[in-house]
């Protein structure tokens, strides 16, 4: 079931949570809504579920308008950040809940319910905990029960609100992989909210990056990572070095340094973002962006991390391969130049981005 979001607007008092958001979730895909807290991602998810009412706009399920349909009739599965398991019911009764509250006509028989619940518990590999109460479970177990509960009613779409947010790093990693595999198995249209870019990039088919109630960029994880559409996306997706300069005759110029830049119009004020591993260190100033004094060398692990201090006091982070580092033979205190292998340039005079 595809989901279409058209011109959705939502305010809470003076706070604009969503400002004219448009988005299509394709049938069967696993989509991540990624952004910092307060960007509107959870509000959007709750509007899709029907837990929140938009001030304007439409939500379509499979082409059919569901904007005014009550949450109980939307046939969505929703996994809450803090699980929201019914604390007074056993795991079995939790998973069975959605089936037992069906109107008598469409309610399955007790045997059918039992079978379905046990099947789901096997799917999440927790059938041995059927008699337990939620407080007796670990965080990861609760999360999986919450998922089984939401799947019991055979939802048309699955919505997950920060599904791994409250778990420790190790469990989170396991569950992430498990969710990916589960999705590959059941192919249910799924949307999950996260503020963790690594999680979004690793698990999802497509990522939606949001900020201040706007969608900044939509795309496959590799697309977004390689070609961020705005300074915000660039910064949000990982460590990045920032260079202020201008674009002139196919050159990005920072002070005395210039680097060739193709396909970019002239601009008096421009920002160049370069990830640490996209920077090379060189002993010559040719095509470099800046110069700095080597301050720290962290040589633990497969990459060597360098910190170069510029004359104005700012620091440039560089990640080099072990081989390249050995080739250069750098020592603390040396003067070196940084040359970008790949950079994202944004004009600041023409854009309204505020960083």
């Amino acid at each position: 079931m595809s989901i279409e979001i058209q011109n959705i607007r939502k305010r809470f008092g003076d706070f604009v949570a969503l400002d004219d958001v448009n988005l299509t979730v394709n049938d069967g895909e696993l989509l991540a809504l990624l952004g910092p807290s307060g960007c509107g991602k959870t509000t959007l998810l709750r509007i899709i579920a029907g837990l929140e009412r938009p001030d304007g706009g439409q939500v379509l399920f499979g082409g059919e308008d569901a904007t005014h349909r009550h949450v109980a009739e939307r046939q969505v599965g929703f996994v809450f950040q803090h699980y929201a398991l019914f604390r007074h019911m056993t795991v079995f009764d939790n998973v069975a809940f959605g089936l037992t509250v069906k109107p008598r006509r469409s309610r399955p028989s007790p045997e059918a319910i039992r079978e379905r619940v046990m099947e789901l518990l096997r799917l999440v590999q927790l059938e041995w905990l059927a008699d337990a109460y939620p407080p007796q479970l670990s965080g990861g177990q609760r999360q999986r029960i919450a998922l089984a509960r939401s799947l019991a009613v055979e939802p048309r779409v699955l919505l997950l609100d920060e599904p791994f947010g409250a778990l420790d790093a190790r469990v989170r990693k396991d569950l992430r992989r498990w969710l990916r595999e589960l999705h590959d198995e059941i192919h249910l249209t799924s949307v999950f909210v996260t503020h963790d870019q690594e999680e979004a990039l690793e698990v999802s088919d497509r990522v939606v990056v949001m900020d201040h109630g706007h969608i900044e960029q939509v795309g496959r994880p590799d697309e977004i990572y390689e070609n961020p559409a705005s300074p915000f996306v660039t910064q949000f997706l990982g460590d990045v070095n920032l260079f202020h300069g201008r674009v002139e005759k196919g050159l990005f110029t920072v002070g005395d340094y210039a680097h060739p830049l193709a396909g970019h119009g002239d601009s008096d004020k421009a920002l160049a973002y370069v990830r640490p591993h996209d920077l090379d260190v060189s002993l010559s100033a040719q095509q470099a962006l800046a110069q700095g004094r080597v301050e720290h060398i962290h040589a633990v692990g497969p990459v060597v991390r360098l910190e170069l201090r510029q004359d104005d006091g700012s620091v440039i982070d560089v990640a080099l391969s072990k081989e390249r580092f050995r080739e250069l033979g750098l020592a603390p205190g040396d003067i070196a130049y940084v040359r970008p292998k790949k950079l994202s340039v944004f004009n600041t005079d023409a854009s309204d981005y505020v960083i």
């Binding site: 837990l51 949450v71 109980a72 019914f86 007796q136």
Partner: protein
């Protein structure tokens, strides 16, 4: 356990002192008065005790008390749940005012509350006059007693539920709705079971106060023997007439009712704990079995 070091373990004499003070208070202010009620009631034998209780006026007082509690408690139960639901789940204008108003009966002296009803519903007031003209006597009659009882017991259920429901949050109810439950089903199957202990406690307190209320009821009752005397009022009258056996016999009924509610509460709590223990045991067993299978 007592040997293991713990950061908040106080010296032995501090623990003994604190326990001693608490126990002495319980003994002096709760146990001795309670025992003396029964001792006084039975001072002249069981037969006299029974006679005092089966006296027509005493029986009327007991029934009146039970009747007014039976009306006031369900009314406040419904109101309390509705108010707690509204305050804990919704944001609306005047919410602070509502929570303040719920507490009003606690801050107003019961006598003032009674007086308020006399002024509002007395035969000389417009409302009371209108009702009297249509054959409904409120003040110095049963409706007045019920009204006063409802007023003074107003906050009990709501005050128990509001903090509980606020701390539990609305997540579970929303989960129920997403799973297709109607609002009513979500309320019956999720909200109520989650607040049942708070609710029960509120009802017990509400009931105890409804049966024991003196001040407000005293003002509106008119003290007509066999008609508008509740147990507390009847106790006072008997005591003033130096009928100590009668007074303490009726007082013992109130005390017994209080003890009974406490016993019921402990019973339910005990059963609940046993159920959870059994469940915990089953989970433990499943864990052990699973570990065995994987070994």
């Amino acid at each position: 356990m007592s040997d293991s070091y713990s950061a908040n373990a106080e010296p032995r004499w501090v623990r003994w002192l604190l326990c001693g003070v608490a126990l002495a208070f319980v003994f002096l202010f709760l146990l001795i008065p309670l025992l003396s009620v029964f001792q006084q009631a039975l001072a002249h034998g069981f037969a006299l005790y029974l006679t005092a209780l089966t006296d027509a006026d005493a029986r009327a007082a007991i029934w009146l008390t039970v009747r007014s509690a039976a009306i006031a408690v369900p009314l406040n139960l419904v109101f309390g749940v509705a108010a707690a639901w509204a305050v804990a789940r919704f944001e609306f204008r005047g919410k602070t005012l509502l929570t303040t108003l719920i507490d009003l009966p606690f801050s107003v002296s019961p006598v003032v509350a009674g007086l308020m009803f006399v002024l509002l519903f007395g035969v000389n007031s417009p409302v009371g006059g209108f009702l009297a003209a249509h054959g409904l006597k409120v003040i110095f009659a049963e409706p007045g007693i019920v009204l006063a009882t409802v007023f003074v017991t107003f906050p009990f259920v709501a005050r128990e539920l509001i903090p509980l429901m606020q701390s539990q949050g609305a997540d579970e109810e929303q989960a129920a709705l997403v799973l297709g439950a109607s609002g009513w089903k979500s309320f019956v199957r999720v909200t109520l079971p989650n607040v049942k202990w708070g609710l029960l406690y509120g009802v017990i307190l509400c009931n105890a106060r409804a049966m024991g209320e003196f001040g407000a009821v005293s003002v509106v009752s008119g003290h007509i023997r066999g008609e508008t005397n509740t147990i507390p009022l009847h106790v006072e009258i008997l005591y003033n007439e130096y009928n100590f056996v009668g007074a303490f016999a009726c007082a013992s009924i109130l005390a017994l009712l209080a003890l009974l509610t406490l016993v019921i509460k402990s019973l339910i709590e005990w059963r609940q704990a046993r159920e959870q223990n059994e469940a915990a045991g089953r989970v433990q067993l499943a864990r052990v079995r699973r570990a065995g299978e994987h070994a």
